[in-house]
Amino acid sequence: MNTEYNFAYLDEQTKRMIRRALLKGVAIPGYQVPFASREMPMPYGWGTGGVQVTAACLVPDDILKVIDQGADDTTNAVSIRKFFEKTGGVKVTEETAKATVIQTRHRIPEAALTEGQILVYQVPIPEPLRFLEPSEVETRKMHALEEYGLMHVKLYEDIARHGHIATSYAYPVKIEGRYVMDPSPIPKFDNPKMEMAALQLFGAGREQRIYALPPYTQVVSLDFEDYPFEKGGAQQACGLCAAEDAYLDEVIMDDAGTRMFVCSDTDYCRVRREAGHIGEMGVPLAEDAA
């Protein structure tokens, strides 16, 4: 740990401001609380909102996990993990079950999260109505009046044009029958997991918004009676671990167009392979390492 930084990088006044916003966010689930987002030593779009929320929540005893699209070993995840190792001196892990705080970019881990855990999302555009109504003054009024007809029109137009609701990520959800919320660009496959035992916090750095979902909060994906919400997902099993219930990434293997589907959640895949599950294109873990 580098002691030239304050614990978890941010100064105390900034953390207090973020902490107050987080408490109000938890008290009003799905409502976007404005906060004075700081410049972080990484560009916007790299998770500055999530990093600030994590920094405000972190305690010295925490065990941090960071994922980017489900993977622990991508640049974004590795950088953020190192950032908090350096500035907070916290332990890090790749194992979902061991982590106390998990910062995520665009995925929810496959393994069910537990009471003691906090899931921090990196959010690019927190306003679900933004692409329908560019004015912040207007969208704020729409949330105040619970005027969400426009969102249903958007989903209806999807059906009119494509025959089904074509929105496949950042699929809008309604929280406790009140606020329509952007779940961040997670695949809609993950939407049903949002009713969970862990606390969920959302940070949008560039847009300066924080919002939250307490445990067991009702989260309903918007839909129509005759076009109910479907979580979708790949039809096949993971090529490495044969998981049939996981969200899969499609990987092109060669110029001939051979493709393979593998778990997007690398930790989930590893745990399954260690337990002896072998997919169609996989080999036992011991041979793979050799």
């Binding site: 404005p34 979902l213 909060t217």
Partner: protein, 189 residues
């Protein structure tokens, strides 16, 4: 100014406030849960839980209203010295208010936010004799099925919940213990 006002802050501000905030976040996210919060030692008669919460959340940007039983003592000086928070008389201007339940009444004096910005509402810290995991039945976000918590009143909290998404949020403190009641929690007697 008495020397009591100068002591009783956090030993290690960044670690102590991080640990205290995590407890506050946890109880706010799980209404009815009672937890230990330590780190600050305010002058009597304020509880250490309320004092620790103020040290964690207050700074010059947060007007604080102190109940008459607290504002007459060294507490106002203690709060100003350690946090820089302005102590205000006007209840509507306060972001945080601390006191026994009877002193906080009528709670309709405090800011409940606006339809566009329901977060611009006060957080009330209710000083209690004890915190009991029995009494009113709580339901709502953060609670798996139901929780129970001893409350100083019922009607006021029910009326506050009916204002959602506007409304006040509450921390309840006794000694070093803390619990929370956000505006989302539905109550039955």
């Amino acid at each position: 100014m008495n020397t009591h006002s100068l002591t009783g802050g956090f030993e290690n501000a960044s670690h102590a406030s991080a640990n205290a905030f995590r407890v506050a976040l946890d109880v706010m996210a799980r209404p009815g849960k009672i937890a230990e919060i330590t780190g600050g030692t305010p002058p009597a008669p304020m509880s250490s839980a309320a004092g620790t919460l103020l040290l964690t959340l207050c700074d010059p940007a947060t007007p604080v209203w102190l109940a008459p039983s607290l504002s007459g003592s060294d507490i106002a000086d203690w709060l100003r010295f350690h946090t820089g928070a302005p102590v205000v008389e006007n209840r509507h201007a306060a972001m945080f208010a601390v006191g026994a339940w009877a002193e906080l009444l009528p709670i309709s004096d405090f800011a409940i936010g606006t339809p566009e910005y329901p977060d611009r509402s006060a957080t009330l810290i209710v000083e209690m004799e004890t915190l009991e995991p029995s009494g009113a039945i709580l339901r709502g976000p953060g609670i798996k099925s139901t929780a129970a918590l001893g409350l100083p009143a019922l009607t006021e909290f029910q009326n506050n919940a009916a204002l959602f998404p506007l409304g006040l949020d509450f921390f309840l403190t006794a000694g070093s213990q803390i619990a929370a009641l956000p505006r989302t929690t539905k109550l039955e007697g």
